[in-house]
C-alpha cells in the first residue's frame, strides 16, 4: 500500500533525522564541569562499556534470584523462575545496554521529546499528540485491570528498567551527559507509547489524500487505475495455485483533463519513484520435503530504519515453568517479537492493509470547533489542552486536541476538518501474546495464540519441528459499508462507520501448502480472485515476493546457507522486466547515437545488483527519467497537494499498451510519444544524468558500492557515532533493497532450521550495546554488510555455553 509505505518510510526517518538534524544546529553548550569530569562525566561511559566477569544487581519484585549469562556475542541468556521474573531481568539488561534509546523511543510516542531535546523537537511531539498516540496509550493502560497478565507484565518490565536506572546513579549514558539531562523513571504506559510509535511507522497511510489529489488531476477512473485496489501483478502471500506471477495486461484508462493542482511526490528523499521498491520486509519458510536435510527452514528479514543502536535487542529467556525462547525484542516492549523456541520459529512482515480512514466532518466553528454534526444532531468534541514543556519544565507551546467518536479531529490542507480513525488508536489486542505464543509447540497453535493481535497488522509466518509451515495476515481489518477505504467519506452519518472486522477465518492464510513453501514481502496478501473484499490499495509492487518464489521454486533441496544467501540475493525481477523493454525500444532508434550508446552500456548489465556491477547506475537513472516523463500528468509544478508516483507494477501493466495516452509527454506539444519513444528517451536521458552525476561509465564512479550504501545513523544523528557509507549488495526491488538515503534496510536477519535440535543464525546492523565506548556498539556491521550470519547460542542452563560463555550477572530480589 503506497499510503502505508509512505507511513513506513517517512515515519521511520523523522525521529532521528528531524530531531538529530536540529540537534546538530548550534545550541547552548552543555555545562563543562559535569561533562568533562573524569569520574562522572562523559569519560565515565568507558567504565560502563564492558560488563565485568561477574556483576550483581537487585530488582524489586523478583520472586527468586535470576542468572543472566552473556555469550560471546553479548546476548543475555536469562534464567528465571517464571515469566514475570524473566521480564524484570529483561528490563534490567535492556536498560543497561540501551537506556537512552528507551527514553527517546517512549518520548517519541508520547509526544514528550521537547522535555528532553527542547523546542526543536516540537514538530515531532505535535505530530504524535495530534494523531492521538499518547491518548490511545493512556486509554489502553487504563483499560487493563490491575491484576491482568498484561498489567503485571508491564509493571515487571518497569521494575527491571527502573532498577537499572537507579543502579546507573550518577553515571547515566553518554547522550544524557551531552544533553545535560537525567533519565526519567520508566512507567508501564511507556511501553505502550513505544508500541504506538511503531504502529505509526508501520500502519499509517494517506491513501485517501493521495487518491483525491490524483483524481483532481487525472479523473476518478484514472486515479483508481494508478493506485489500484488490486495489484496489477498478482503474487499473493496466500498461494493461489499459480506457478508464476499473473500480470494484468489490460489497458489503463487514459488521463482525464483536470483543472485542480497537485504535486507528485517526485525526485527528492525516499519518495523518489525508485524508492517505492527500495523498502520492505521479507520472510519465507520451506517445508521439509524441499530442504536438503529434511527439516523445515524459516528466514526472517524485517526491514526498518537502520540506527545505532539498533531497533532490535537480542535475548534468550528461559524459565523454570517451560518458557525457552530466543530472538529479538524491541527495547521497552514485552517478550520476543521475532525468534524461535525449541519447537518452532516465526517472523513477521508488515501487512500494509488499509487500517486508517478519514472522514470530512461538519463542525460548528471552522476556526475553533467544539461540536460536529452526525445523524442530524450536534455532538460535543472531546477537547484536551496539551502543554509541551522544555527540559526546564517551561511551557514552550500549547495545543488544543479534538476528538470525535471516530478519533482525532485534524485540519486538512484545504482547511476542512477530518476525523481520523485508525486501528492503532483503538484498544484491543493483548500485549502478552508473544510470550503466550512462545509456549506453543506447533505452527497451528502458535498462529491461534496470535489471533488476538490487532495492530499493526502483520504477516505472521511460522514453521515447526513437525515440518508444518504456515502464515496468516493477522490483525484487525475493518469492514466499510462503502466497500472502500481509499476514498474519504463524509462523516455526517454513522452509517459510514466501520461495520465490523474480518473474522479470523477470513484472514489471508495458508497452512502446509501443497507448493511446499511460503513467502511474504509486503505484497497484496490474497488474490482478489479468491477474496474480492477491500483490504487496501496501492500495494507494494511484488518484486521481492516474485524473486523469493523464483528462488524457492528453483531449489528443491534448500539449505540454511542458501536461505542466508537469498537474503542478499542481487537479482531484480523489476530489472528483468524493464531492461528488455528498454533495449527493445532503443533498437527502434538506431539513428540516435545517445540511445544506441546507452543501450550498448545497459546491455552489458546482467541485471544483478552486485556491489561491483557498474551498470545498475544507468538502469536506475533511466527508470527515474522514465518515471518523470511518464507521470507528467501528475506534474510537481502544478502544486496544490501531493501525489505519490504510481507503483512500478502499474508501469509494467502499461508496457502492454504501446499507444496509451499516458506515454505522451504533455510538454512536447506537436509530438505524441508512444511507449518505445518514451523508453528510448528515458534511456538516453538516464545516460546523460548518470554521466553528469557519476562521471564516465568506466571511470570508476559507476561501481554500485560507490553509489549506493547503507547509512546507519546514531539515534541523535551524531556523525562520529554513526556508521556511514557501509557497502551493501542489492538495489531496487531486490530482496535486500537499499534506499537512496541508505537509512532503511534489513534490521534483523535470521535463519532457523527446525531439526531435532533447533539451530539458528542471525545478525543485525549494530551491536547489543548503545554505549559508544563498548566493543559491542557496532561490532556486527561488517558481518551484516557481507550478508553473513552468526550462529545463535541456545543453552539450556547458565553453564551451557561452554567456551562461548561471557560475563554473568546475578540479579537478586531487592530488599
Amino acid at each position: 500500500m503506497r499510503g502505508g509505505r509512505a507511513g513506513a518510510g517517512l515515519a521511520a526517518v523523522p525521529l532521528p533525522l528531524r530531531a538529530g538534524a536540529s540537534l546538530l544546529r548550534p545550541g547552548p553548550l552543555p555545562r563543562l564541569g559535569p561533562l568533562l569530569d573524569p569520574v562522572r562525566g562523559i569519560w565515565s561511559v568507558a567504565r560502563e562499556a564492558e560488563l565485568p566477569a561477574r556483576a550483581t544487581g537487585a530488582i524489586p519484585g523478583l520472586t527468586a534470584p535470576v542468572t543472566v549469562r552473556y555469550d560471546d556475542r553479548a546476548v543475555p541468556h536469562i534464567f528465571a523462575a517464571n515469566e514475570l521474573d524473566a521480564t524484570r531481568a529483561l528490563g534490567y539488561v535492556v536498560a543497561r545496554d540501551r537506556l537512552f534509546q528507551l527514553e527517546l523511543s517512549w518520548r517519541a510516542g508520547a509526544g514528550r521529546l521537547t522535555e528532553l531535546l527542547g523546542a526543536r523537537a516540537l514538530p515531532i511531539d505535535q505530530e504524535s499528540r495530534r494523531l492521538g498516540l499518547p491518548d490511545a496509550a493512556a486509554r489502553r493502560l487504563a483499560a487493563l485491570p490491575p491484576d491482568s497478565p498484561e498489567r503485571r507484565a508491564l509493571e515487571a518490565l518497569s521494575d527491571g528498567i527502573n532498577a537499572r536506572i537507579a543502579a546507573a546513579g550518577s553515571r547515566p549514558p553518554f547522550e544524557y551527559q551531552v544533553l545535560g539531562v537525567t533519565p526519567a523513571r520508566w512507567e508501564p504506559v511507556h511501553s505502550l507509547h513505544l508500541l504506538g510509535r511503531m504502529g505509526w511507522i508501520l500502519a499509517l497511510s494517506d491513501l485517501e489524500e493521495n487518491h483525491a489529489a490524483a483524481a483532481r488531476l487525472v479523473g476518478e477512473e484514472a486515479a483508481d487505475a494508478l493506485y489500484p485496489r488490486e495489484s496489477p501483478i498478482q503474487e499473493p502471500i496466500q498461494p493461489n495455485g499459480q506457478l508464476a506471477p499473473r500480470y494484468d495486461r489490460t489497458p489503463l484508462p487514459p488521463p482525464a483533463g483536470g483543472s485542480a493542482r497537485a504535486a507528485r511526490r517526485g525526485t527528492s528523499g525516499w519518495e523518489d519513484p525508485l524508492e517505492q521498491d527500495a523498502l520492505g520486509s521479507n520472510n519465507w519458510a520451506v517445508a521439509p520435503r524441499r530442504t536438503a536435510a529434511g527439516h523445515a527452514l524459516l528466514a526472517g528479514d524485517p526491514h526498518l530504519e537502520l540506527t545505532l543502536p539498533s531497533v532490535w535487542y537480542e535475548a534468550h529467556l528461559v524459565t523454570a515453568d517451560g518458557l525457552d525462547v530466543y530472538g529479538v525484542t524491541l527495547p521497552g516492549a514485552l517478550g520476543i517479537v521475532i525468534g524461535f523456541t525449541r519447537d518452532l520459529a516465526w517472523s513477521l512482515t508488515n501487512t500494509e492493509a488499509d487500517v486508517y480512514d478519514r472522514y470530512a466532518e461538519t463542525v460548528d466553528d471552522p476556526a475553533q470547533p467544539a461540536r460536529y454534526r452526525v445523524d442530524g444532531a450536534w455532538r460535543d468534541l472531546r477537547l484536551a489542552v496539551e502543554p509541551y514543556r522544555d527540559p526546564a519544565g517551561r511551557v514552550v507551546h500549547t495545543d488544543t486536541l479534538r476528538f470525535s467518536h471516530r478519533g482525532p479531529l485534524l485540519q486538512a490542507a484545504g482547511g476542512e476538518w477530518e476525523s481520523h480513525r485508525w486501528t492503532m488508536l483503538e484498544t484491543g489486542g493483548r500485549l502478552t501474546l508473544f510470550g503466550r505464543a512462545a509456549r506453543a509447540t506447533t505452527a497451528a497453535a502458535w498462529l491461534d495464540s496470535m489471533v488476538e493481535h490487532r495492530a499493526p497488522a502483520q504477516n505472521m509466518l511460522v514453521a515447526d519441528r513437525q515440518g508444518t509451515i504456515a502464515i496468516r495476515s493477522t490483525g484487525r481489518f475493518p469492514l466499510r459499508p462503502s466497500g472502500r477505504g481509499d476514498l474519504r467519506q463524509r462523516g455526517d452519518s454513522t452509517a459510514v462507520d466501520w461495520s465490523g472486522d474480518w473474522s479470523p477465518a477470513e484472514l489471508p492464510q495458508a497452512i502446509a501448502p501443497a507448493q511446499g513453501f511460503l513467502a511474504s514481502a509486503n505484497q497484496q496478501p490474497i488474490d482478489p480472485a479468491a477474496a474480492p473484499r477491500y483490504l487496501g490499495a496501492n500495494w507494494y509492487s511484488p518484486w521481492r515476493a516474485i524473486r523469493i518464489n523464483q528462488l524457492l521454486r528453483a531449489d528443491s533441496a534448500v539449505t540454511p546457507d542458501a536461505m542466508r544467501r537469498y537474503q542478499t540475493d542481487p537479482g531484480s525481477p523489476a530489472a528483468d522486466l524493464f531492461v528488455p523493454a528498454l533495449l527493445t525500444a532503443a533498437a527502434k532508434f538506431p539513428e540516435r547515437d545517445s540511445v544506441v550508446r546507452a543501450a550498448r552500456l545497459l546491455a552489458e548489465w546482467d541485471r544483478r545488483y552486485t556491489r561491483e556491477n557498474t551498470r545498475a547506475v544507468l538502469y536506475e537513472a533511466a527508470m527515474r527519467a522514465l518515471g518523470d516523463r511518464l507521470w507528467d500528468e501528475l506534474d510537481p509544478a502544478r502544486a496544490d497537494g501531493a501525489v505519490d508516483a504510481p507503483g512500478w507494477a502499474v508501469t509494467a501493466r502499461l508496457l502492454n499498451d504501446p499507444a496509451s495516452a499516458w506515454w505522451d509527454v504533455r510538454a512536447t506539444t506537436g509530438v505524441r510519444e508512444d511507449r518505445d519513444r518514451l523508453l528510448a528517451d528515458a534511456l538516453a536521458a538516464g545516460l546523460q544524468a548518470a554521466i553528469a552525476r557519476h562521471g564516465a561509465p568506466d571511470a570508476g564512479g559507476w561501481r554500485w558500492d560507490q553509489v549506493r550504501y547503507a547509512n546507519i545513523y546514531h539515534i541523535l544523528r551524531f556523525p562520529g557515532l554513526s556508521a556511514l557509507r557501509v557497502p551493501v549488495q542489492g538495489g531496487q526491488s531486490t530482496l535486500n533493497p537499499s534506499s537512496g538515503s541508505g537509512s532503511f534496510g534489513p534490521s534483523w536477519r535470521m535463519v532457523v532450521e527446525l531439526g531435532p535440535d533447533v539451530r539458528g543464525w542471525g545478525t543485525y546492523p549494530g551491536g547489543q550495546s548503545g554505549n559508544p565506548a563498548s566493543s559491542r556498539y557496532a561490532d556486527r556491521i561488517g558481518q551484516w554488510s557481507n550478508g553473513e550470519l552468526d550462529t545463535l547460542r541456545l543453552p539450556r542452563t547458565p553453564d551451557g555455553l561452554g567456551a562461548q560463555a561471557g560475563p554473568v550477572l546475578e540479579l537478586e530480589p531487592a530488599p
Binding site: 563543562l32 564541569g33 559535569p34 568533562l36 569530569d37 573524569p38 569520574v39 562522572r40 562525566g41 562523559i42 569519560w43 565515565s44 561511559v45 568507558a46 567504565r47 562499556a49 564492558e50 551524531f718 556523525p719 562520529g720 557515532l721 554505549n771 559508544p772 565506548a773 563498548s774 566493543s775 556498539y777
Partner: protein, 111 residues
C-alpha cells in the same frame, strides 16, 4: 611569587584526584582556592596539579573502551581522538589556575 616543589605539586595532584573522585569536579576550584589561601604561590602550579590529578583519573579508565570513546568522539568533532584529551586536561588546568588567581587577588585585596 613563591614556587612549589615537586612533592607539593604531587601531593596537591593526588588531593585533586581524590577530591574529584569523592566530590565531583567542584573539588578542583575548592582545593585550588584553599591551597592558595594557606600556601600562596604560583597559580599556574596549582593549575598544573589539577591537570595532573585529572590526567591520573583518566589513566584509571579502562584503556580499550576509553580509546574507542576518544575515537568516536573525535569523529563527532572531525578531530583525531587523542586531541580530545586536551579538553579535560586544559579545563582542569584553567579551573585550578583561575581559582588560585582569584584567591590570590582576594588575599591581596584583604591585605
Amino acid at each position: 611569587m613563591r614556587g612549589r616543589g615537586p612533592f607539593e605539586l604531587l601531593l596537591l595532584a593526588v588531593l585533586m584526584a581524590v577530591g574529584t573522585w569523592l566530590g565531583g569536579w567542584w573539588a578542583v576550584p575548592l582545593l585550588a582556592a584553599g591551597w592558595q589561601w594557606l600556601r600562596p604561590g604560583s597559580a599556574w602550579s596549582i593549575g598544573s596539579a589539577a591537570l595532573l590529578g585529572w590526567g591520573g583519573l583518566l589513566m584509571l579508565l579502562p584503556p580499550a573502551p576509553f580509546g574507542r570513546l576518544l575515537e568516536r568522539l573525535g569523529g563527532l568533532l572531525s578531530l583525531p581522538g587523542p586531541v580530545l584529551l586536551v579538553l579535560p586536561l586544559s579545563y582542569a588546568l584553567l579551573l585550578g589556575w583561575s581559582a588560585a588567581r582569584l584567591t590570590l587577588a582576594f588575599r591581596k585585596a584583604g591585605g
